[in-house]
């Protein structure tokens, strides 16, 4: 039953995309209904998987395995552990919400939904792959639809990338501009994103090939490799660095982040949601799945690299977000800043902090999804994303303004949302090992409050700007449903995190025991932050 639910989660979007090919483009409603049905089925199945996951049993559950090529040692092998299950759940929530957010797309809606479904299905595939080949297969597959989604349905970022300070002097995002030949178009953003991620992907592929070649059994099976492959010395370091930086480029860790805000800014709302919500988590997840599982000792030695780089991510992202004037640019940089928290949680290699990091990925997916959805709504209504030229929209769209406030609160880590739980766990768990980083992270929260409220004020309060005169609120069920779904989930887990915590903790504990080489605890979940 569970195994079938997992297969359904993965294949429902694929089959939806396949079915859409045969739906004529002029049947606009049918196209949307097919996409929504596929996403809805996937959401229900992953809901079941997430709640049916048994934390007492731990390990990989709902496993199914079909041989794919014995010659190369590849099997189609899927299953989720306590880290995969919540991320699969988050992907399907965002996909479902994204379908409704993009309900009003007119231009080539059919193709849009096909690529969106493929993108989401591929990310879901990564989160449940237990075979290195398929992990890479789905990973690379998720990158390409992004190109078309950005390029065709995106919007130009021209003019928004230039940042000015109070006196009107130009500031520039230095790293973002190294490869930017004054081309602020969506085509540029799409190409940069695709090539950047492909470079990362081939680095990771080299690492995967080295793992394959030097393991005693020629296989891509992660579970077998975890038990039997022993890597040490220079080879292990090389593989670890390739895997870490290859996957971290999508995470995105500083200084490999420059594709990300540009991409966010150019993408249509639903794509930004999936991109920031789940695509970026592919990086962290793949690092955990490949480096943490297969190279535990090297992870222990080299993970401080992440602890150092995450400081730059947090501070740099936060400051650029504070000075940016484009709403999506603010949210994009805030995402890359928040991903630093996840790296901090991972770097500390502590039960509580790693559990927190996984919960943070889920929480951030919801919070940033909401923010992007509403930034997209504001853009659709006013045709601008320039914060200084907007204002007073609360009169025109009270519902969206209210949701925006909740999303900001969630993003900051307000108690009552799941973000709070995640944040506090990362901070508490990492304190012992990295006190300096924790101080930076706490100051980063202050910075987050600053830029989010600044954006909130700029968009919704003050005098109503001329652009906002014809703006409308989200009134229909179609427009309100995705926002309410994400808010509801965030608050529900914020109030009742026990199952979530248990699920993640059950997987994190044995993994960290291997990395830190301690004897496993006798009873799981015996001690922890929560009862």
């Amino acid at each position: 039953m569970g195994a079938y639910a997992l297969l359904l989660t993965l294949f429902a979007p694929f089959l939806g995309a396949l079915a859409l090919i045969f739906v004529p483009n002029r049947e606009a409603l049918l196209v949307r209904m097919v996409a929504a049905t596929a996403a809805g089925l996937s959401l229900l199945a992953s809901f079941y998987v997430f709640f049916a996951y048994d934390p007492d049993q731990a390990g990989f559950q709902f496993v199914s395995r079909y041989p794919w090529s014995e010659e190369l040692g590849i099997a189609f092998y899927i299953g989720v552990d306590g880290i995969g299950a919540p991320l699969v759940f988050a992907s399907t929530i965002l996909l479902f919400a994204g379908i409704f957010i993009s309900w009003h797309i007119k231009d080539r809606a059919k193709e849009f939904y096909i690529f969106l479904l493929i993108l989401a299905a591929a990310t879901i595939g990564v989160f449940m792959s237990l075979d290195l080949f398929f992990l890479y297969f789905f990973y690379e597959m998720s990158v390409l639809p992004m190109y078309l989604l950005l390029g065709v349905w995106g919007s130009h970022t021209k003019g928004y990338l230039e940042l000015t300070d109070e006196e009107g002097k130009k500031k520039r995002d230095s790293v973002g501009f190294i490869l930017n030949f004054a081309a602020n178009s969506k085509e540029y953003a799409a190409m940069k994103l695709t090539l950047f991620l492909s470079v990362g992907a081939v680095c990771a592929l080299m690492g995967i090939l080295l793992i394959y070649h030097f393991s005693p059994v020629k296989t891509f099976d992660i579970l077998v490799l975890r038990e039997q492959a022993q890597f040490s010395g220079t080879l292990a370091t090389i593989i670890w660095l390739l895997v870490f930086f290859g996957f971290a480029s999508i995470a995105p860790i500083w200084p490999l982040h420059s594709w990300s805000p540009v991409g966010h800014a150019a993408a249509p709302a639903a794509t930004s949601m999936l991109h920031a919500g789940v695509l970026m988590k592919l990086g962290h997840f793949s690092i955990i799945r490949v480096a943490f599982e297969i190279l535990p000792e090297t992870t222990r030695e080299l993970m401080p690299i992440a602890a150092v780089l995450c400081i730059f991510s947090i501070v740099y992202g936060g400051f650029v977000a504070y000075f940016a004037k484009d709403t999506k640019y603010v949210i994009g940089y805030s995402s890359s800043s928040h991903m630093g928290y996840v790296f901090l949680g991972m770097a500390a290699l502590d039960y509580i902090s790693l559990t927190g990091a996984v919960i943070y990925m889920f929480a951030h997916a919801l919070a940033t999804g909401m923010l992007f959805a509403m930034a997209g709504w504001v853009y659709d209504q006013t045709h601008t994303r320039d914060i200084p030229s907007l204002g007073g929209l609360v009169d025109r769209m009270p519902f969206v303004a209210g949701c925006f406030l909740v999303a900001c609160m969630a993003s900051i880590g307000m108690p009552g949302t799941v973000n709070f739980i995640a944040e506090i766990m990362i901070i508490v768990g990492s304190w012992e090992k990295y006190p300096f980083q924790v101080i930076v992270a706490v100051l980063g929260i202050v910075l987050t409050t600053g830029y989010l409220f600044k954006m909130m004020r700029g968009l919704f309060y003050g005098r109503l700007s001329p652009e906002g005169h014809h703006a409308h609120d989200a009134v229909g069920i179609v427009d309100r449903l995705p926002l309410l779904l994400m808010i509801g989930t965030s608050i529900a887990f914020g109030i009742m995190p026990v199952h979530f915590y248990n699920v993640v903790r059950s997987t994190v504990e044995p993994m960290l025991d291997r990395i830190n080489q301690v004897a496993p605890l006798i009873t799981q979940n015996s001690t922890g932050l929560l009862p």
Binding site: L72, G151, V152, M191, T194, H213
Partner: protein
Amino acid sequence: MTFDLVLSGSDLLLLAPEIFLTIWLCVILIIDFSLKDLDHEKLAYLSVGGVLVTLITLMWFDYTGVSGTLFKNMFVLDRLAIFFKIFVLLSTAFVILISVDYVKFFRFFRGEYYFLVLMSALGMMFMASANDLLSVFVTLEFSTFGFYVLVTYLREDLKSSEAGLKFFILGVFAAGLLAYGISLVYGATGTMVFGEMASHQGSYGLAIGFVLIFAALGFKIGAVPFHSWIPDTYQGAPTPVTAFLSIAPKGAAIAILIRMFYVALATFKPMWVLLFVLASILSMTYGNIVAIAQKNIKRLLAYSGIAQMGNILIGLAAGTKRGSDAIMFYLLTYLFANLGAFAVVIGVSNLIKSDEIEDYNGLNRRSPFLAAAMLIFLLSLAGVPPLAGFIAKLYLFIAAIEQELYALLIVALINIVIALYYYLIVIKKMYINEPHDPTPLTISTPLKTAVYVGLAGTLILGIYPKPFIDWAVAATLMFSNLAAPTASVPAVTSLVGG
């Protein structure tokens, strides 16, 4: 050496596909001459029918395990040969289908077109069976003659004549190199048959001879530094001929390369590995970098083809059974993706009379089907999952890493990203740019069939490659003892006898 040409019934069976195809192409020619009023489209379907019958015969041979040698080991029919014959015939059928509309633009000799295509195919079938140097030479030239005519088929077009002339001069030059190489090898070993050379001592004559032969075959497959004819010839030739040229002769030449280097030169592997590594690195890098600057889709596919050959040479550089399996699987995926892409190019150029990439602007709005098909073919060539090209590339990489060819692998991985860039540029034009002229485009049934076959092949080989991988693995069972490690043998000295 005396030849006694006594053929028994079982010997004739080995030759049956070739004999049948010979008769068939004569029939085509006779029908064309005698029935003047016959629609040439019917000739095309007749040709496809003949090719398919031959194809099915060969599949049956493969299934029942028919094999053997003829004419003092000159001609061999084994599973390797059968694989490449099927490959050649598959691409021939494909090419005839995509020619149907194009041939209508020819003012003369429409019937002979199919005859010449079939004759080249016949030559390439013999190439797949060549088992000694003499038959390599004869079959190679046999297959090329048809192409010399086909390339210049657009008689009024200057570009086509230029293409033919370049192809002819360089082709003849390559033939000269081949003949010279063969004479050197014969001088050094005293034999022509691959199997008998394996036991000979290395010498300079052998080394230089084989380098010359490699150069001649490198010309055929268009590997750098023997690639200079490719872009102009591809651009000038009629597009279906370009498509044919881009796949079938390359497959047949790869068959000869595999057989020659794996059988005759197995003991000198450390030496030729270097040759292939260099050719592979140069082809990939040169092809991909120059492709970025192309404005014409046929030239772009020409340079991308050079790069794809670089990828294929990775398998020969590995020099193992895994390497040859990977090559064969790669060729299959390349067949569907490349011919599919050419089918789209022909479809577009029949309608808008242009091969400029600029004119692909907004293809998605004009014909969503053609644009989606081109998207899939180009992404398969780029090696993006879940399409066939990805698994094929990965297979080659696995073969390379097993031989620890790290430098080659790193270059190949970097090239994936470079290649992605120029394929994405075409995709950008099709999907993102707006069309100059938004009239919808529709293509004819035979072309549509070809595109569907290409799509099916690209997707099936990508999602469920197991039967095809198993087929390739079974075809090269004779190389299973070849996986000797490379590092332990001192490199240069073993070949020159020092």
